[in-house]
Symmetry: C2
């Protein structure tokens, strides 16, 4: 598990979009978890039958097609990313998360100059790399915002050792 | 697990919408599984970041909010409903499915006169009830299309014994 963190609008999703194809190219099966801090996001599923189930009181609805599974579940409390990984991580080599800055797994901070003044992460936050266009030093390897290959090399050599893609 | 079956346009989802609130009223936690027989349905999630993850190559994306979890996963093959229940059924008292007519669990057939000529299920198909406006006999208890209370009574007394809602 590796999390992309950064203040708002720093470019976490954009970096995610660059890293994912590079992991896939190397043969890894990657899942992502996006943290949504407020309640009430909506999901709209073609066909809508499953939506009718949900509205009628189903606690969880699943749509199962030959090539895809979708699930929506009501939660009484916010699941930790560890719980999500344990329940849903089967068959994946790596889980990349976005927005879990308080959890204790390795993190890559995205930092763009001109957007924010200072880094989000400090010592003890589990930072393993910076993706940035700024000349900042956090005591960890620094990569350009576009350097998917460099970042994936780092993750592969440090965290994915022994995983056969 | 109980499946609502019936030929197309027989009213499975409409019955589902009547049964779910009755189960919920009695305190049961119910999940549903909707079978989608063709590939390529679309899911549209507000905010779209998770969609960007999926398009960039993530095999699975999860959105986790305080009150809800959503998941979309690519599948190499169609999961059986038993596999889906085993993986995702934790914490539920009952799973109602729609459209799994070939699986071997108890079934309620929805049959409307004027829409189809004959029943979908025959002997050996695991039928436990009919929901119908027609005067047909399948050798199982028959309920009106609106009789959620009667159908839930049957499911409760035969399949949910010992489950404390």
């Amino acid at each position: 598990m590796v999390s992309l963190v950064g203040k708002s609008n720093s470019g976490k999703t954009t970096l995610m979009e660059k890293l994912l194809p590079e992991f896939v190219r190397r043969g890894y099966k990657v899942g992502t978890i996006k943290h949504h801090s407020h309640a009430g996001f909506d999901i709209d599923v073609e066909g809508k039958d499953s939506w009718r189930h949900k509205k009628a009181g189903a606690r969880q609805v699943i749509i199962a097609a030959p090539d895809k599974i979708a699930l929506v579940r009501d939660a009484d409390r916010e699941a930790s990313v560890g719980e999500l990984a344990a329940e849903f991580g089967r068959g994946l080599d790596l889980i990349l998360t976005e927005g879990y800055k308080r959890e204790v797994f390795p993190k890559i901070e995205v930092f763009r100059k001109g957007v924010h003044e200072s880094l989000l992460c400090g010592p003890g936050d589990g930072l393993i790399a910076l993706a940035t266009d700024a000349d900042v030093d956090a005591g960890v390897p620094r990569f350009g915002l576009d350097d998917a290959r460099g970042i994936v090399d780092l993750v592969e050599s440090t965290l994915l050792k022994g995983k056969t893609p």
